[in-house]
């Protein structure tokens, strides 16, 4: 599995889907349009700062609130390669898997990563390396059931396989 590399954008607890992508932009579902407003109400500078491969590092209950799949779509299209959090709200977590945005749970890493740290993530092994600080962490493994969906390439290909399409 290929390695992801990028800098950390660090946020706190309960980053909700309203600040990830405000409802005033929900009449569209084009990834590029959504990405232009990603995290606008939490960090207006985010879209200017973010570079392809960067990662979001956040506290508890990331993605709480609305079921809008526009949230992980906006994050992914903004160039974020992975979200590392202490915990995820459940609908956001489902949506992230379904749209192919890696979402890793690792409270220890979140506690120690600082803004701007250079990170490397091996998704297959669930390893998070903080290259700036020289520290490594093991993320919580995905439940076996979800590994099948991820291995199939997401829920759409998984569903096609189930329907033998």
């Amino acid at each position: 599995m290929s390695e992801l590399r990028g800098r950390a954008h660090v946020y706190g607890d309960n980053v909700d889907t309203d600040v990830i992508i405000p409802a005033r932009y929900l009449t569209v579902w084009d990834p590029a349009e959504l990405a232009a407003h990603c995290l606008e109400d939490l960090d207006p500078e985010f879209v200017k700062k973010v570079r392809p491969g960067d990662m979001i590092v956040a506290g508890e209950n990331f993605g709480s609130g609305s079921s809008r799949e526009h949230a992980p779509i906006a994050i992914k299209a903004a160039g974020i390669s992975c979200v590392i959090a202490k915990s995820f709200a459940r609908i956001f977590f489902r949506n992230a898997i379904n749209v192919g945005l890696p979402a890793l749970v690792c409270p220890q890493a979140v506690g120690e990563i600082k803004r701007g740290d250079e990170l490397a993530v091996d998704l297959g092994a669930g390893r998070i390396e903080n290259l700036t600080q020289g520290k490594g962490y093991q993320a919580e493994p995905f439940p076996e059931f979800l590994q099948h969906i991820i291995a199939a390439g997401g829920l759409v290909p998984y569903t096609q396989k189930r329907l033998a399409l």
Partner: protein, 420 residues
């Protein structure tokens, strides 16, 4: 060992004799739901799957409620995607403007959800239907698309938290106050991934409208579903909306819960949740000198006729404060018509309030009552996140209909007791 109502419903829908928390299942879904925000994306993903036809069109409900009546051209295009798709698929449950209203008020009215059923919806407040003894949970658009194609949805069986409400509710205390109080106690991630099962004598005496309000906000504690064991009140409600049969199940006396929370309702005052989290609940008497610019009474949380009656009782013969804009939004056309018949529409308009057609609009800051920078609203809606109702520097205070109405009159957050 016994099972909870949630476990029983999920077992019955996955071909198992019993299921335990933590197990992943493929659940047969009785009803699935999308709206004008989530359905266009689901339809796009459905086409990618390539199934062609819906697995069962009768189990799919699409409601145009969020940015409707179409707020702009993009919203109009999104609604057209739903309309065209529903025609193409010969869907019987597409609810357009004027014939639908807010999804979570509409579906129970239409008798589309019954005890013992399994419902998923691409809307986080799908958990509302637990009030009727159904398992109901929110998912995203791709999950909806996959379920539209297969009729099934993967679910992890949740642990259940038992919340026992005891004692008699005080005057002006309703389902909204009970759920805000609970979220204040356990926090916005207090029931993350879990089922919140509401029970106890207070719940047994609570009418269906209040139960719907409570289960509606289970998601605000991070819960997968909120649920109330169906009883005589549930069955009476079901008789009033449908004659179709259903299989109700209830929790066993020896069911296992991950924890139990006990709440004495006798001391609970009407609640207000301060910005910017629903867990910031306070008794209204402790929220002083908070002037408001807008009051919104409506939404999937509190837009039913019972909510409008409560607001009408407070507003009758009174005037909305000159500095406040009151917006009242009946949740469905049926509620709207009933409000007219009962004279409530006249009370709201005479008081200086704006009576709107059904829409989710202002709750999520889409339209019909968006806040400017620095403005403050009291709302009977469900979320007070940063920027939820408009500008990121605006504020939303959550409350029940009586507090919202009293606040509209006094121009500051206030208890209806202050008016009498």
């Amino acid at each position: 060992m016994g099972h909870t109502v949630t476990e029983k419903i999920l077992a019955a829908h996955s071909g198992h004799d019993e299921v335990h928390p933590g197990r992943f299942i493929m659940a047969r879904v009785d009803l699935m739901l999308g709206n004008d925000v989530t359905a266009p994306l689901a339809i796009e993903e459905f086409r990618k799957v390539g199934a062609g036809r819906l697995a069962d069109q009768a189990k799919v409900v699409l409601v145009a409620d969020h940015a409707t009546p179409n707020k702009d051209i993009k919203a109009a295009e999104a609604c057209r995607v739903m309309r065209d798709f529903s025609r193409e698929q010969g869907m019987e449950h597409f609810f357009d403007v004027g014939r639908g209203g807010i999804e979570h008020a509409l579906l129970p009215e239409e008798g589309l959800v019954a005890p013992g059923e399994c419902v998923i919806g691409a809307d986080s407040h799908t958990c509302t239907y637990g009030a009727l003894g159904a398992f109901a949970t929110g998912v995203g658009s791709t999950d909806l698309a996959a379920t539209m194609a297969t009729g099934e949805c993967w679910l992890r069986v949740p642990e259940s938290v038992k919340v026992v409400f005891r004692g008699q509710r005080r005057r002006w205390v309703g389902g909204k106050d009970l759920i805000l109080y609970l979220i204040g106690q356990i926090g916005v991630s207090g029931a993350r991934y879990q089922a919140l099962e509401f029970c106890g004598e207070t719940i047994e005496a609570l009418p269906v409208a209040g139960r719907l309000t409570m289960c509606n906000m289970a998601i605000e504690a991070g819960a997968k579903n909120g649920i109330i064991n169906p009883d005589a009140i549930t069955h009476d409600f079901m008789k009033s909306v449908t004659s179709r049969p259903y299989q109700a199940v209830v929790s066993d006396p020896d069911a296992r819960y991950v924890r139990t929370v006990e709440i004495d309702c006798a001391n609970i005052e009407p609640q207000v949740a301060l910005p910017h989290l629903p867990e910031n609940a306070r008794p209204v008497s402790q929220v002083k000198d908070i002037t408001i610019d807008q009051a919104v009474i409506g939404s999937c949380t509190n837009g039913r006729i019972e909510d409008l009656r409560e607001a009408g009782e407070v507003l009758k013969g009174r005037q909305v404060h000159p500095d406040v804009r009151l917006i009242v939004i009946p949740a469905t056309p049926r509620v709207h018509l009933q409000a007219i018949k009962e004279g409530l529409a006249e009370i709201f308009i005479q008081a200086g309030g704006a009576l709107s057609t059904p829409t989710c609009g202002p709750c999520l800051g889409m339209h019909m009552g968006v806040l400017a920078k620095g403005e403050r609203a009291v709302a009977t809606t469900n979320r007070n996140f940063v920027g939820r109702m408009g500008h990121p520097e605006s504020e939303v205070y959550l409350a029940g209909p009586a507090v919202a109405a009293a606040s509209a009159v006094l121009g500051r957050i206030a208890s209806p007791e202050e008016l009498s």
